[in-house]
């Protein structure tokens, strides 16, 4: 995990360069910066235009006048399929799904990471590999039986169904996060506690957890972002009023009654992207630490 601390600029290994090269360097990096920011700028500016402002024009333009209309409509009255109720209800769905799933998978990941890598359990290493291997599975390979099982349990098209699925498929990656982190905790700590006669749970709560806040933050942030941004499970296991906001956004964009309102699409897009963007800006350090390990996930 400390690999990321080597991102610090003081570690730059680059050879020195001439002044001309440096001017060119800044020109290129600023141009690239503009390219990366452009879609976000287009989203924001378009969302602030009024619908009349588009007539015959491009979405890449400065607003004739600013208006909060698109934001209000995307939130309260935009049509998602046949329901013209805006994104707000689906937003709540996303929170109702994401918060418990992220918490449950993180808690289980912490327990697994500790039990299977810190304690020398018979077969512990094998069980750890068994769980962590789940990280590499493309979800297409489990999608059909998952839908069948949720259907049998009566959980298809419910918030509970998505909480179950997101929690379970979060276990492998969360376990991997905690295993990696705990491998840097000295074994002596656990050994000393064992000699003192500490039980499993007292070791977990009094020794391991107090050392864990950084990795808990990394894991929670990773899970929040991944589950919030999920589309595949949302679109497969939910419909109508139980959809998470990312799925509802896609339906909003594909629903047209009358004039196509790009400003409403863009406002909806920003609204849907806001929680993960805020996390990225506020807790970028933890997000990036999760990214390097978490990116292998199915």
């Amino acid at each position: 995990m400390t690999a990321i601390s080597s991102l610090a600029a003081s570690n730059a290994t680059a050879p020195r360069t001439s002044p001309m090269t440096r001017i060119l360097l800044y020109a290129v990096i600023i141009a690239l910066g503009i390219f990366f920011l452009a879609p976000l700028a287009i989203m924001i500016i378009t969302s602030l235009r009024s619908t009349e402002d588009f007539r015959g024009g491009s979405i890449i333009a400065w607003p004739g006048s600013f208006s909060g209309y698109a934001w209000l409509k995307a939130w309260t009255t935009a049509c998602i399929g046949t329901q013209c109720i805006g994104l707000k209800g689906y937003y709540l769905n996303s929170f109702l799904i994401v918060v418990p799933s992220a918490a449950i998978s993180t808690a289980l990941g912490a327990i697994n990471g500790f039990a299977l890598s810190k304690l020398k359990l018979p077969g512990g290493e094998f069980l750890l590999i068994l769980i962590v291997f789940g990280v590499f599975i493309p979800y297409q390979a489990i999608l059909i039986p998952a839908a069948q099982l949720l259907g049998k349990l009566g959980l298809l098209n419910t918030i509970w169904g998505l909480i179950l699925v997101q929690s379970v498929y979060g276990i492998p990656i969360c376990t991997l996060f905690f295993r990696n982190y705990y491998s840097s905790i000295p074994d002596e700590l656990v050994r000393a506690a064992t000699i003192d006669g500490a039980g499993f749970w007292s070791m977990f709560f009094y020794i391991i957890l107090p050392l864990s806040p950084p990795i808990i933050a990394v894991t929670l942030i990773w899970q929040f972002t991944a589950i919030w941004n999920d589309f595949l499970f949302g679109v497969t296991f939910s419909s109508g009023s139980t959809q998470p906001v990312i799925v509802a956004l896609n339906n909003l964009v594909n629903t047209t009654f009358g004039v196509k309102e790009y400003n409403v699409d863009m406002a909806g897009t920003i609204i849907a992207a806001l929680p993960t963007l805020v996390i990225y800006v506020v807790a970028g350090k933890y997000f990036v630490r999760g990214l390097v390990v978490g990116s292998v996930k199915g």
């Binding site: 601390s5 360097l25 024009g57 590499f136 059909i144 099982l149 499993f200 589309f231 497969t236």
Partner: protein, 298 residues
């Protein structure tokens, strides 16, 4: 000698096994049993509902005879080659740029990386409208006074895959940059200094010292990118709806369509098994070979 004191006591191991059992049961069912179930279904006559009449490789034979699946595999190959090739090149380029003791480095890092925090649905919506010829970039450039300018990849069967590659690259390049940057900064600064004193040009130092020493990153980053390409689903559904005319079909969208829209569970499962096999054969080995370097600083 320490082995004796490391033996976990019964009052620790029993609660530990109890603590990990919910995860083991959940992963056992949702990952392993489900994969076996998918494989079984792929050899069965299942259509709308599971039907365990054994049909051998019939579904696989039908799958590979089927135009849309071949198209999906072809698109995946084109997409992967470009995604990995350009993604690695761009990521390395960004990392080297950032590594040149740039002022406000963290600001540029944040700008290059933020798209990875977005859902593919968000990326898909914004790029769908930017690339739309009648309201997007083409219209914008034409309005600037170039009435013959053309940029209609997204609505052209021949180029739609490139449109998807472009949007996906925008999302992922910053992430590849992070992988390369942490590797670049792990390179021994003394060697670079020595080469610099010997009068080696900067590009020469990169080409013959730095880049050869970080080769495992190419492997692991490439594996991650191919894994992402294999699972490409959200972006296609949102940006092109698998069109125009079904021309942007991908393995994951094909699988979803067969299993959940056309009630062809047998063929859908067969395609899911192919995706799983590709992940295990292509992605996993590259990840494992590339991994030691990424873990080096842990």
């Amino acid at each position: 000698m320490s082995a004796r004191s490391q033996v976990t006591r019964w009052y620790q191991s029993i609660p530990a096994f109890i603590a990990v059992s919910p995860s083991l049961i959940a992963v056992g069912i949702f990952v392993y049993a489900f994969i076996i179930w998918t494989i079984l279904i792929s050899f069965s006559a299942s259509k709308m509902v599971p039907d365990f009449t054994w049909v051998g490789f019939l579904n696989y034979w039908k799958l590979w005879q089927f135009g849309p699946w071949r198209l999906a595999v072809g698109n995946f190959v084109i997409f992967s080659v470009l995604y990995v090739g350009i993604g690695l090149a761009l990521g390395l380029f960004l990392a080297i740029l950032i590594d040149q003791r740039i002022r406000v480095e963290s600001l540029f890092r944040t700008i290059f990386l933020y798209p990875i925090a977005l859902s593919f649905v968000v990326t898909g919506v914004v790029w769908r409208w930017i690339m739309n010829p009648t309201i997007g970039f083409e219209k914008f450039v034409r309005d600037l006074g170039f009435p013959n300018f053309e940029f209609a990849w997204i609505s052209d069967e021949r180029f739609v895959v490139y449109a998807l590659v472009a949007a996906a690259l925008w999302q992922v390049s910053g992430f590849v940059m992070v992988l390369f940057l942490s590797a670049l900064r792990g390179v021994d600064a003394e060697i670079i200094k020595a080469a610099s004193l010997d009068g080696a040009r900067p590009w020469r130092i990169y080409a013959s010292i730095v880049i050869p020493s970080i080769w495992p990153v190419f492997l692991s980053a490439g594996a991650i990118l191919i894994g992402m390409a294999l699972k490409t689903f959200d972006l296609v559904i949102v940006m092109t709806q698998r069109g125009p005319g079904g021309s942007s079909e991908f393995p994951a969208t094909f699988m979803y369509d067969m299993a959940f829209r056309r009630n062809q569970l047998g063929i859908g499962s067969a395609s899911a098994v192919m995706i799983l096999a590709a992940a295990l054969i292509i992605v996993l080995p590259a990840l494992l070979i590339g991994a030691p370097n990424r873990d080096r600083n842990k």
